[in-house]
């Protein structure tokens, strides 16, 4: 009995402890990054709010940063961003969920080896490529013939929404597929034994059981759509305005940040600081959505 306690209480070698410290430091880089993002955004945003009233910023509906007289109503940018994100979700939710059902419930292993790479390829294409496609194909060759050249211009929220919708479909499909696969086989077989058809099993058994993952995937996709930059910036135009007309040219928060960054904006100017204020707004919106998706998973998860 005496040998065992000795070996267990012996101090671990110094080398081992140093290695553990180093590994911990590597894991802590992420926390430093988060703190850095928050500090940088907060610092310049406070500077911005010393010059512009936060009330005007968050309630104003007119945004004009580069043309005098300047106006800082961020709702013009937020509404453009949300319009694009909503159009994207209207496209991506049905496409993504149908693809997920096909993969999780209907597809044979052979079909999967064809369908999975399609989704992965779409997910892997650099987003600027989708922006190029939106500018050169979807806007002129799909939307114009469909809606008539008088009704939609070169730049529109609709084209941006379609492009972002393509982009987030694989995200919804893959997370939803995973959560449908996690539904135990016995539940399906119980329903089949009661005489349900395949579609009824999907709709009344699998879908409700997987709903936490499906909702989380939709919220994450929305967060992704709000933060998407390069796919949007070529397609939606540079006209910040509060509108719900998808055929209008608009500007998203991300597209504004790009516009300010490529222009000749002096460091310390109010335009430069507005970049951080818009960045903070964007960060907060996506952060809340990311927290919400985690909460949905925990709150609505059904454990088996």
């Amino acid at each position: 009995m005496s040998a065992v306690p000795i070996s267990l209480t012996r101090r671990r070698p110094v080398g081992e402890r140093i290695i553990e410290r180093l590994l911990f430091l590597a894991a802590a880089v992420g926390v430093v990054t988060t703190l850095g993002i928050i500090a940088v955004l907060a610092f310049e945003t406070i500077e911005f709010f010393l010059a512009v009233s936060p009330i005007d910023f968050f309630t104003g509906t007119h945004w004009s940063a580069l043309i005098k007289p300047q106006s800082w109503g961020v709702l013009a940018l937020v509404s453009g961003t949300l319009l694009v994100a909503l159009i994207a979700l209207v496209i991506a939710i049905p496409l993504g969920l149908l693809a997920a059902v096909l993969l999780a419930e209907y597809a044979s292993p052979r079909v999967r080896t064809v369908v999975k790479p399609i989704l992965e390829t779409i997910a892997g294409v650099p987003t600027i490529v989708l922006g190029f496609f939106g500018l050169n194909f979807i806007a002129p060759h799909v939307l114009r013939p469909l809606l008539g050249p008088d009704n939609i211009g070169t730049f529109s929220a609709l084209a941006g929404g379609i492009v972002v919708g393509i982009l987030i479909t694989p995200l919804i499909a893959s997370i939803s597929e995973d959560s449908m696969r996690a539904v135990p086989r016995g539940l399906r077989e119980g329903a089949f034994a009661m005489g349900a058809t395949k579609f009824e099993v999907v709709r009344k058994v699998v879908f409700p059981a997987a709903v936490s993952g499906i909702m989380a995937s939709i919220i994450l996709a929305m967060s992704r759509a709000i933060g998407e930059t390069m796919a949007v910036v070529l397609v939606v135009g540079t006209k910040p305005q509060l509108t719900f007309d998808p055929t209008e040219s608009i500007q998203t928060m991300t597209a504004f940040i790009v516009q300010i960054s490529i222009g000749e904006t002096a460091q310390g100017s109010i335009e430069y600081k507005s970049l951080f204020a818009v960045g903070s707004t964007l960060f907060l919106m996506t952060f809340v959505l990311n927290l919400l998706s985690g909460w949905v998973v925990r709150r609505f998860r059904t454990a088996y």
Partner: protein
């Protein structure tokens, strides 16, 4: 029995509205197939459209020349070199840090509040929009650390962006190593680090390397953060990593696509073909590395 069978088949009490329900099911299946077909069609149209536009412009001169204000003379050599330099630095920076962080989280971390914080933090970071990393890089690397708008600042910014991706992929790879592998190493008298470095890491290497290579592919396709790190410039020379201006492929694509003339859309498409080819090479590399490293692993 023979008399009963046809009767029960027509008896609607046992199979209420079966015909209609089956039709609904078939329609739904049709919708699923249609959704996938639409996605496939979109992908094909995208690729064909880009290749048709790019074809007249893709030649050796395009690959070996600097950009020019005249599309016929323009090329993308500086953008290719900039992209490769950034890709290499990102790989060198994120590989050790990402793998070390994953080892800590899987093999060392006890269930304390600080370790749970580290874990939640990484999944939250993966959801931060890439352009926000650009703002961080602009304030920290370009300004505070006075690196200026250089390849180095851009590569470090992209490293922070893909670090969560590398960590998450490595954590998955480490978790997939069976527990017996660890017990076996301990049974032979290995210390924890000996167990990790000589037993678990080699077994997880295929998954980790695949994750790192795919994360590098993601980094070189990313453009939004680099617009804030000064990549949107007219560069006619080969970029130096630590000083001077630079550009990368996705930014070059954006710059040309922003011009209304058809010729510039054409060379933009040609640059897209180049970046897609680069992605294809990296994905193939990931497959090869995975196959080679997992030759000796079996469980």
């Amino acid at each position: 029995m023979a008399a009963l069978a046809p009767a029960s088949r027509t008896d609607s009490r046992f199979e209420p509205a079966l015909m209609r329900r089956k039709v609904t099911g078939t329609l739904f299946y049709g919708a699923c197939v249609a959704a996938i077909a639409l996605l496939l069609l979109t992908l094909i149209v995208l690729l064909v459209d880009v290749f048709v536009r790019a074809a007249p412009w893709l030649d050796l001169q395009f690959l070996t020349s600097p950009p020019s204000s005249r599309p016929a003379r323009a090329g993308i050599l500086p953008a290719i070199v900039g992209t490769l330099e950034i890709g290499i630095i990102v790989g060198v920076v994120t590989f050790p840090i990402g793998v070390a962080a994953a080892i800590y989280l899987v093999e060392y971390a006890s269930d304390s509040w600080i370790n749970r914080l580290l874990q939640t933090n990484i999944s939250n970071l993966a959801g931060v929009p890439s352009i926000i990393y650009g703002i961080l890089g602009l304030a920290v690397f370009v300004r505070a650390l006075a690196m200026g708008p250089t390849i180095l600042a851009a590569a470090l910014t992209l490293s922070l962006l893909i670090l969560p991706v590398v960590i998450i992929a490595s954590v998955e790879a480490l978790k997939a190593v069976p527990h017996a592998q660890r017990e076996g190493a301990y049974a032979l008298g290995a210390s924890r680090w000996q167990m990790v470095s000589r037993s678990v890491l080699p077994a997880a290497a295929p998954g980790i390397m695949t994750g790192v290579i795919l994360a590098m592919a993601r980094a070189i396709g990313e453009a939004a953060p680099l617009i804030l790190i000064g990549a949107f410039t007219f560069v006619t020379f080969l970029p130096n990593p630590i000083s001077g201006q630079y550009t990368v492929l996705p930014i070059q694509i954006y710059g040309w696509a922003n011009r209304p003339q058809d010729d510039f859309q054409g060379i933009s498409a040609a640059a897209i073909v180049v970046i897609l080819a680069l992605m294809l090479i990296l994905n193939a590399l990931a497959l090869i590395v995975r196959a080679r490293l997992s030759r000796h692993i079996q469980w």
